[in-house]
Symmetry: C2
Subunit: 264 residues, 2 copies
């Protein structure tokens, strides 16, 4: 266990562990991909499989071995040590529905927060073998190569992604519909993959609702380190202290502002 | 050029050519994937790129070299020799929007019709390297391994796919919405990939509208050869003589009937 003084070194240890976690997730997910995994419905009616649970259990084991005093928040089990300085926020399979359909846009999300602020994030797509890594203050990478967002100041030229129109209800649906009418093109069915594609400059906007912290914390350092911006629908920073469930990510600050105006 | 007598042999020649076409499409598409390809808007407001056009031109060239008296219908240029016994129906990139976003669910679609009936179909996803092949009277394969649809007689247990809710307007939207309320789960953003996943038993239903023949002919032999059924929304067979733009594909005949009832 490394000392916790500030500097490059402590971040390197965290990056090494985060990569090891993503490797471990791949090893469990890949042999189970397209194997007709049995599904359970959770109380919130979202699906979960033994694969989700096995990945989360293994990541928790590896985190506790390395940093027994860190906290952990995961999708599939109760939060632990949430008063710790460092908290890992993990989603073993973001996009379980895509995983079940055999569509490789799901991914393992791994985030590390310090004092509630996300400082490290990984999106790992195991089938295609793509890993986005974002670290506070550093350029974001996709499989080690630098990822940069794309300039696109105008809504009418923007490509927008969201996982499903069903995530928007009531006034959120009205406001989201106003946005889809303003952009050039809307693409659904994207899960975490859209945030990676935004970091790499292939998508201009990701606007989602009905999310939990484990759905978006990994994206924060990835998008910021690629030159983009990610906030809630009111423009607020995403931290563990907030309770945001609605997210706007953009590769362009002007586009982000125009989007917030439309969603307001 | 082989003789055209009926029997196994003439089909083998067609399969060889169809695979060669899919290989040629991959060779053009892969070096252009995620390269920020410039986009034009067609008169129907769908996007097209120089890559779509280059693939279609190459496939037309190869078909004409092998079978100068065959007809060709493609997405990107005018139909030729449409009174021929054999007509190739091709979509160089089905899912151009997915291609532009860098989401590997697009594909090259290659179909061969005889007297208007689709007898051979390929869905080729070049990035993941997946090729579904369907031939009239034979089992469907994915990369050479047999593909089989899944039994799922009940709507409330079914997984439904469609490329986008925006493809349904007016009464079609009302009827489709009735279907989404009846199924277990709806997944958008799937393009041609959903039909392959249905043939392989990971998706139960694909219901779409606003399609052209080059969007669905390749799927017909693939889904039939995997044990499934594909018709228009009125339950009619899909042939070149029909002008279907609405399609229902199902891995299960009872589910197909229940879906038609709901959509009627």
């Amino acid at each position: 266990v490394p000392p916790y003084e500030d500097g490059e070194n402590y971040l390197e240890h965290f990056i090494t562990l985060a990569n090891r976690l993503a490797d471990a997730a791949r090893e469990i997910i890949l042999p189970n991909y397209r194997k007709h995994t049995p599904v359970e419905d959770k109380p919130d009616h979202t699906p979960v499989t033994a694969v989700d649970r096995a990945v989360e259990a293994e990541l928790r084991r590896l985190i506790w071995l390395a940093y027994p005093d860190h906290g952990i928040i995961g999708e599939e089990s109760a939060p632990c040590q949430t008063d710790a300085e460092y908290i890992w926020v993990i989603d073993p399979i973001d996009g379980t529905k895509a995983f079940l359909c055999g569509i490789p846009v799901f991914g393992t999300l791994i985030a590390l927060t310090r004092e509630g602020i996300p400082i490290l994030g990984i999106i790992d797509q195991p089938v295609i073998g793509e890993r986005w890594l974002g670290v506070q203050g550093r350029p974001t990478t996709l499989n080690g190569a630098r990822a940069d967002t794309k300039t696109c100041p105008d809504l009418n030229r923007a490509t927008l992604c969201a996982t499903t129109p069903e995530m928007f209800t009531g006034s959120l649906a009205t406001n989201f519909h106003r946005l889809t009418n303003a952009v050039k093109m809307t693409r659904y069915g994207t899960d975490c993959y859209a945030y990676g594609l935004l970091a790499s400059g292939f998508v201009d906007l990701v606007v989602e609702a009905d999310l939990s912290p484990y759905d978006y914390f990994a994206h924060v350092p990835i998008i910021q380190g690629a030159g983009g911006i990610i906030t809630d629908w009111a423009g607020r920073t995403l931290t563990l202290h907030g309770k945001a469930s609605c997210v706007v990510a953009s590769g362009d600050r002007n586009l982000h502002r125009a989007t917030l105006d439309l969603l307001a």
